[in-house]
Symmetry: C2
Subunit: 409 residues, 2 copies
DNA sequence: GTGTAGGCATTTGGCCGACAA
DNA sequence: TTGTCGGCCAAATGCCTACAC
């Protein structure tokens, strides 16, 4: 670590050319990583916990920030929607073009809930951007070696261990020495907080099955896992075994922080964005993928393709991806039944959830009845999947649809 | 409960005279209390947990709200002070005259940390007030029957129970039947969330002492108490035994909520107050007495007495009350060494912490070096306590000083 | 292929007085 | 007066197979 400090000092003494400044920042990051001030989270594990549909924007790229979507996230967290007490910010547009300055992945110390912090700088136009080095932050990468299991009563009871699905154990865990009687090994895995857990992995019983025994109950107790919560294992790019958790939705109750009233939070979101927009100064947001109804930071490319690339109209058919219970993807089909403002008073002309839709399947009452155009797939991209419009049966050649890229068995 | 609903409907049908409106509100409150939507917290227990120096303003009364103080509370919660990214709100004065519309006491479901929610309405002048019924909310009342103990390693270990200080057991617990061998009874106490706990109270050992055994470990585990945390018992006005907890300061780490960035929270506080001030519309705040450096909602009377009643000057001696470890009060002495703006750029002329002070005792480095005039006692109120200026020895006739009113043994 | 239950060894929890600070 | 310890028994944890579904 000392050597890095040395390097920083050396770089700092050099003349402040652009190259040297970048060099300095790079070294600073290296220093921070080593000193553990802000230990970088394992990105792939973060994405695995976030689910197959989540991706974060690239540092330096251009995005549209949607205050309405951000406000919706606050509403979910506080369980209170914006009220009429919230002032209008006439100078804050419904979509704010920003350059992404910084993206960091985090996880709540208590609940392990994942979230991201981003720093966004409003820009006047595409030409207004400044090259930002991304210090090697990889583009969104979902792990290819992955499995996720919803915990049963037996898995979480103090009476026993964890029953590992066979295919998961065979795909992810190091191979057992089956000449042993019984075959057993010690698994050492790390979580999002870089905490190390040790599990005894054994293959026994009649019929034979894979189990995690010693060490498992400590994990369950420490993470306060209950039946219905999920646990997931991945192998990252370095082939390291890691473990993550996902709480059942019922438990998602992010409690009211008792720091700020819900109204003040809504005001804070809008006022911070308005101030940043007026001054072209960066502002910081949190994005909670699993709590938030929809992403509210949309890459410019994606936005353009959806808004200018396709002409949506009432009656048009579309598909939209959702996450399955086993953390796979599944497409649901629907029809656009209207195009109108979600909030005509506050945000006239906004593209945020301006499409009213109806879903083909009856069990979709939990799904949004309003979506934004960049969330859906329109006929141009769908014409090759005519069989999908039924939507009820699982497609046979699922590989063809690209939803076996990861996480689906 | 149905009958209350009936009454509400009836009241609602009546003509909307002022009396009927109040009647309606009163019934609504009754209904909410009964239905448990927002179960009222035991006020005395709340005050016991808050500590001897905390008091909440009366509903309907006039107060000054200090945005700076509110911002300080946010800074403590988020561990980030307001940065230069925070816009100025030139129309928001450093002190905002408000009428108190609503005060509710709360406790965090997880940590039991107490906090209050208040609704404040900015008013132009004292004449601007509207009579608000307080629905019988009592003025601040600290329980007279009270004790507080910091938990030892033995108290929190799984190996044993809780050792009750003799005087506490004798003062608060129902008298034991000392003819029993050994004397024992069952204590049923409730906490801030109205949860009932049952403890076996026994008097045994050599030498004899009071202990809580069966049921205690469940309480410790459930509240996640550690050695160093405190537990307190009170008898409320109905003479009911209740139990509360206070976390050690080290554990006060209210984690960053991951909902809003610290900057947005600071902006939210100021923007909400500014908007409310401009529109004379009510706004809602949270007050965390134990996390917050100083109260930022000051009764008009108290403010007046301090600001207009006394002429403070550099060199003046003063006293100020602090909480002791055992939840008593203790006066520390100091000298005013300067009068100046805490933040000359943002809040010029503000009365918030505009007094720079030095403390008599050397071990006071943890204490604020800036205070507001309403926090201190000036010579007029101190001339009768000349012996106190040493400040080091415990005054003998402490009753005379009024600091045995409660909680000090 | 995997969830749950019964059997049983081992560990932890928890009530007691002794002793010391 | 009260914090911690060793002793001792009871309750729970946790590893195993058997038996469903």
């Amino acid at each position: 670590m000392g050597s890095v400090e040395e390097k920083i000092k050396t770089a700092g003494l050099a003349n402040g050319t652009q190259t040297n400044l970048l060099e300095e920042m790079k070294l600073l990051k290296e220093f921070q990583d080593q000193s553990g001030i802000r230990k970088a989270i394992n990105s792939e594990l973060w994405y695995a916990c976030a689910g197959p549909l989540v991706s974060l924007p690239q540092v330096g790229s251009l995005v549209y920030y949607f205050p309405q979507g951000h406000s919706e996230q606050v509403a979910v967290s506080t369980k209170r929607s914006a009220t009429s007490q919230i002032p209008n910010y006439p100078n804050l547009p419904s979509q704010l073009l920003c350059q992404v300055h910084n993206v960091t992945q985090h996880a709540d110390k208590d609940t392990d809930e994942i979230y991201a912090q981003m720093s966004l700088q409003p820009v006047n136009s595409e030409k207004d951007v400044f090259p930002i080095p991304d210090f090697g932050l990889k583009p969104s990468k979902h792990p290819s070696e992955f499995f996720c299991k919803t915990l049963t009563a037996s898995d979480t009871s103090t009476h026993g261990g964890f029953s590992v699905p066979r295919r998961a154990a065979e795909k992810l865990f190091p191979p057992l020495d089956y000449t042993m009687q019984p075959p057993t090994q010690e698994l050492v895995v790390r979580d999002l907080h870089d905490h190390t857990w040790t599990f005894r992995h054994i293959y026994r019983g009649q019929p034979k099955r894979h189990l995690l025994t010693t060490g498992w109950s400590l994990f369950v107790g420490s993470k306060r896992l209950k039946a219905g919560d999920s646990v997931l294992f991945i192998r990252d790019e370095k082939s390291q075994l890691m473990v993550g958790v996902r709480r059942a939705n019922r438990q998602q109750t992010t409690l009211p922080s008792s720091v700020l009233s819900a109204d003040s939070m809504h005001i804070g979101v809008l006022a911070a964005a308005a101030h940043a927009a007026a001054n072209r100064s960066p502002f910081t947001i949190f994005y909670n993928p699993r709590a938030c109804p929809s992403d509210f930071v949309i890459p410019l490319i994606k936005f353009r393709k959806a808004v200018f690339g396709t002409q949506v109209s009432v009656g048009m058919r579309f598909g939209m991806m959702f996450e399955t219970e086993e953390s796979g993807k599944r497409r649901y089909m629907g029809t656009i039944v209207g195009i109108s403002d979600l909030d005509p008073l506050r945000w006239p002309g906004s593209k945020w959830r301006n499409l009213q839709v109806e879903w083909d399947e009856p069990g979709c009452s939990d799904k949004q009845i309003r979506v934004s155009s960049w969330e859906i797939e329109t006929p141009e991209s769908l014409f090759i999947f005519p069989s999908l419009t039924s939507g009820l049966k699982r497609p046979l050649q699922s590989g063809f649809l690209g939803d076996t890229e990861w996480g689906v068995w």
